[in-house]
């Protein structure tokens, strides 16, 4: 009964979303503000109704109501409580519901936040958000409803995919969706600006804050996904250039491009159309990403079958959104042309534009790589794989170019950089970068990419350090305080700029983590009997025993490995080979020992009943920097979001 109520609320939400599209349009036409208030209420109500829908489904999960088909397919009576709650987004139907719920929450918040300050934009914002919700709700109500009942109900559920039964995986999809959905607000603002023809400065400010927030969520989501892949999939890699991963990476790249180029619009009132284009592309990629993953267009052989009908609907919806967005842009753009005047090609403005070019080409590379197998299959009827070696060869050089620009952009003068400015800011960093590269060579870096990586990291890092040193010294001298306080004053004096610096430092830290853990990785796979030991880098690993362990809904063979350095016992590592009861599907649980920001990573891919096992040991030096950098990036964003307003802002 409660589930039916939830189902019913979602249907009402669908009806209300139609009102949410049309009421603002009526309001615009009749200039009657009542209609706008109605649409605002509709939007708020949709949020409440969808919350009720989610709650009713959670109720079904908690009461183990397996007569609900979706509940039965994603949970099981033995599934622990925590995962039972998260199982809602463990499958197709539920994740769509979560997606649209977050969308309704964000748009409700956006409307309440900006109702007074952005009255001109409101009708468009509500209409655009409602239209996107309408599209999703149609899909949920008619083609993939999580509320469907089955009769007779199965005795027990099929269980949540074991790979998803993991703390990081419970939070990873909601974070990603918050990122995707967060971009819908800037998108709606951009559409409002296009429709109304008002390309004033006001929309940019709001858009910027929402983009930063969405970017933060997406970054956290991607980082969590990487960490999950790292320790759960058991091969110790954090990024496999899989279509699902790429789908989240593309909006991130273009969103990052927007965050940079919007600064030019703010400072110099240029590139308005370009920024609109970037906002639209970012959200389009979020939608395309969601759908590529959901429609099954990109899934490979021997995975779940696709449903062309659902896919076709998704495609029509996608076409409607993208068609409207780009169509309006194309029609309106010529009228919106802002005058572009530059003082010199060598200036921060143009570095920002080159940054945009690199980000877009990077995104295009991922896009091409992701879709190429589909293209070649459609065109030639053949199958190809575009895997990590491709991206390492093609994406990485572009990424290194971006890193180089990251060292240039913030430190080159606006308008026109003189030769003196260039020399003062970049000569020393270039020398430092060369020294770092030589040092890296001496430390055993050999591949051109790792050496180039060392060069750009050295360059970008030293520009940041030089800048910090200079301003700290300046403020220290001005206020007669020590350097640390000087730095703090400089930071407070222009928190926005230094929040950006913090994010850049985060990027560098992540890159150092990636390079170090790739170049210095040690891997060994051995077959060991109980009592045997093997040497892994500076460590010795000894198999002390293999035991049976039992979890709430799985049983496992657990290897107890002792980790020694010299004669010191550092820790006991306990990788598992699990079998989940309901699905009988095996998973490999890794065991990790963190030391000096690196990991000793151990898995046990095979166990034999005779007391021997295959052990796979990997040493990943500095791997924690990969995620530490992510944390620093997030910190930078938070410092940007919570900063004292300056008078000129």
């Amino acid at each position: 009964m409660i589930v039916e109520l939830g189902h019913f609320s979602v249907i009402i939400a669908l009806v209300l979303s139609v009102l949410g599209v049309f009421a603002p349009l009526v309001a615009l036409r009749t200039k009657n503000a009542d209609w706008l208030r109605v649409s605002r209420q509709a939007l708020t109500l949709i949020f409440v109704l969808l919350a009720a829908g989610i709650a009713s489904l959670e109720y079904a999960y908690l009461t183990r109501d397996f007569s609900v088909a979706y509940v039965a397919s994603t949970s099981n009576s033995k599934l622990p409580l925590f995962y039972t709650i998260a199982a809602l987004w463990g499958g197709h139907e539920g994740s769509l519901l979560l997606w649209v719920f977050i969308l309704s929450a964000f748009s409700t918040v956006a409307v309440w936040l900006h109702w007074r300050t952005q009255p001109a934009i409101m009708p468009y914002l509500i209409a655009v958000e409602s239209a996107v919700m309408f599209g999703f709700l149609m899909l949920i109500v008619f083609l993939s409803s999580p509320f469907e009942r089955v009769f007779p109900p199965p005795l027990d559920g099929k269980d949540l995919n074991p790979l998803l039964q993991d703390p990081a995986m419970t939070m990873h999809p909601p974070m990603l969706y918050m990122g995707y959905v967060g971009f819908s607000i800037p998108f709606a603002f951009a559409m409002a600006a296009l429709f109304s023809g008002r390309l004033g400065e006001e929309w940019i400010k709001v858009t910027q804050r929402w983009t930063i927030f969405a970017w933060l969520c997406l970054t956290i989501g991607i980082m969590m996904g990487g960490y999950w892949a790292y320790y759960e999939l058991g091969w110790g890699g954090y990024w496999g250039w899989d279509p699902v991963e790429n789908a989240s990476f593309m909006p991130w790249l273009v969103g990052t491009a927007f965050l940079h180029s919007v600064m030019v619009q703010e400072k110099r009132k240029m590139f308005k159309v370009w920024n609109l284009f970037l906002v639209i592309v970012t959200f389009s990629l979020s939608l395309i990403g969601t759908f590529l993953v959901r429609s099954g267009v990109l899934t490979s052989v021997h995975t779940f079958a696709t449903d062309p009908e659902r896919g076709l609907y998704i495609l029509i919806f996608l076409g409607a959104v993208l068609g409207t967005a780009f169509g309006t842009l194309i029609v309106r753009a010529p009228k919106l042309k802002s005058r572009i005047e530059l003082d010199s090609v060598v200036s921060r403005e143009s570095v920002f534009l080159f940054n945009n070019l690199f980000f877009l080409v990077a995104a295009a590379t991922v896009f091409l790589g992701t879709l190429y197998p589909l293209m070649i299959e459609t065109w030639k009827g053949a199958k190809v794989t575009v895997g990590p070696p491709y991206y390492n060869a093609v994406f990485m050089p572009i990424a290194l170019g971006l890193l180089f620009l990251m060292g240039v952009g913030p430190y080159i003068a606006w308008r026109k950089a003189s030769v003196d400015n260039l020399k003062r800011n970049f000569l020393t960093p270039l020398i430092v970068a060369l020294v770092v590269t030589l040092a890296a060579f001496a430390l055993g870096f050999r591949s051109p990419f790792s050496l180039a990586g060392a060069f750009v990291v050295g360059f970008a890092g030293s520009t940041i350090l030089a800048d910090i040193g200079k301003v700290s010294a300046f403020f220290a001298r001005r206020d007669r305080v020590d350097y640390v306080r000087g730095f703090y004053r400089a930071f407070r004096n222009n928190q926005r700029r230094y929040a950006g610096t913090v994010t850049h430092v985060g990027v560098l830290v992540t890159v150092v983590g990636i390079i170090a853990s790739t170049v210095y990785q040690t891997e060994k796979v051995v077959s060991v009997r109980v009592g045997d030991e093997f040497v892994l880098g500076d460590y010795r690993v000894k198999l002390a025993g293999i035991h049976d362990v039992r979890g709430p809904n799985w049983t496992a063979k657990e290897g107890r490995f002792e980790l020694y350095r010299g004669e010191d016992l550092l820790t006991e590592l306990k990788p598992q080979k699990r079998v989940y009861e309901a699905t009988q599907s095996p998973t490999t649980e890794s065991a990790i020992y963190a030391i000096n920001m690196g990991h000793v990573f151990l898995t046990m891919p095979e166990v034999s009943p005779e007391g021997s096992a295959t052990a796979r040991g990997v040493i990943n030096p500095l791997i924690l920097w990969v995620w530490g950098g992510g944390g620093i990036m997030g910190l930078g964003i938070l410092l940007n979001m919570f900063r004292p307003r300056r008078r000129d802002e």
């Binding site: 159309v273 429609s295 099954g296 267009v297 990109l298 899934t299 490979s300 052989v301 021997h302 995975t303 079958a305 696709t306 062309p308 896919g311 076709l312 495609l315 996608l318 076409g319 993208l322 068609g323 780009f326 842009l329 194309i330 753009a333 010529p334 042309k337 879709l371 589909l374 293209m375 299959e377 459609t378 009827g381 053949a382 199958k383």
Partner: protein, 186 residues
């Protein structure tokens, strides 16, 4: 925004949607095999339930239906009765032979499977997956048709059921047996 950019943008969007549209109808199970039209790799392998070896050479000059299966494979059960029916129907033809290849399986399980579901043709064991590699097999069930000249003419991924089965009965096998592999149409 100049005209050129507008055209590029519209063109890119249209191209993208055409691609997605095509992608929707693509069969995710379809894997083009590069082996069609090439000589079938010859193998010799022990039979299921005995140590006697069986070689593909023994069936030279015959149309061979080669079916890869396993006891743990659910879709193999779906097509099993159809396989038996195919052999009922075409097995009397001296130029036709069916051969099962038991893949990634344990012999007792395979025997149990054959006892439970019945069998009217011979099966060999692919112990290390070597035969499957030679035939570029991805998973089970997969079925190959080899003509009288020993050339691979057809490959079906997934179970021989429904329209696939009808096509086998009405067109593919009669055409192969009448010695006109050009008109096989599979």
């Amino acid at each position: 925004m100049t005209r050129a950019w507008q055209i590029i943008l519209v063109g890119a969007l249209l191209g993208l949607f055409a691609l997605f549209y095509q992608g929707l109808w693509g069969n995710p199970r379809y894997i083009p095999t590069i082996l069609i039209g090439t000589p079938a790799p010859v193998f010799a392998a022990p039979q299921v339930g005995s140590s006697d070896s069986l070689s593909l050479d023994q069936f030279k000059g015959k149309v061979v239906l080669l079916n890869f299966w396993a006891s743990w494979c659910l879709e193999c059960k779906l097509e099993h009765n159809n396989l038996l029916a195919l052999n009922e129907r075409f097995g009397r033809d001296p130029n036709f032979v069916m051969l099962g290849v038991n893949y990634q399986d344990k012999e007792p399980d395979a025997l149990e499977y054959l006892r439970t579901y019945g069998s009217n043709f011979q099966h060999v064991r692919d112990v290390k997956g070597a035969i499957a590699f030679d035939y570029g097999v991805y998973g089970v069930p997969e079925t190959f048709l080899i003509d009288q000249q020993g050339v691979i003419r057809c490959k079906t991924i997934g179970p021989i059921v429904g329209a696939v089965y009808d096509n086998y009965v009405q067109r593919v096998l009669p055409a192969l047996l009448s010695g006109s592999p050009e008109q096989v149409g599979c």
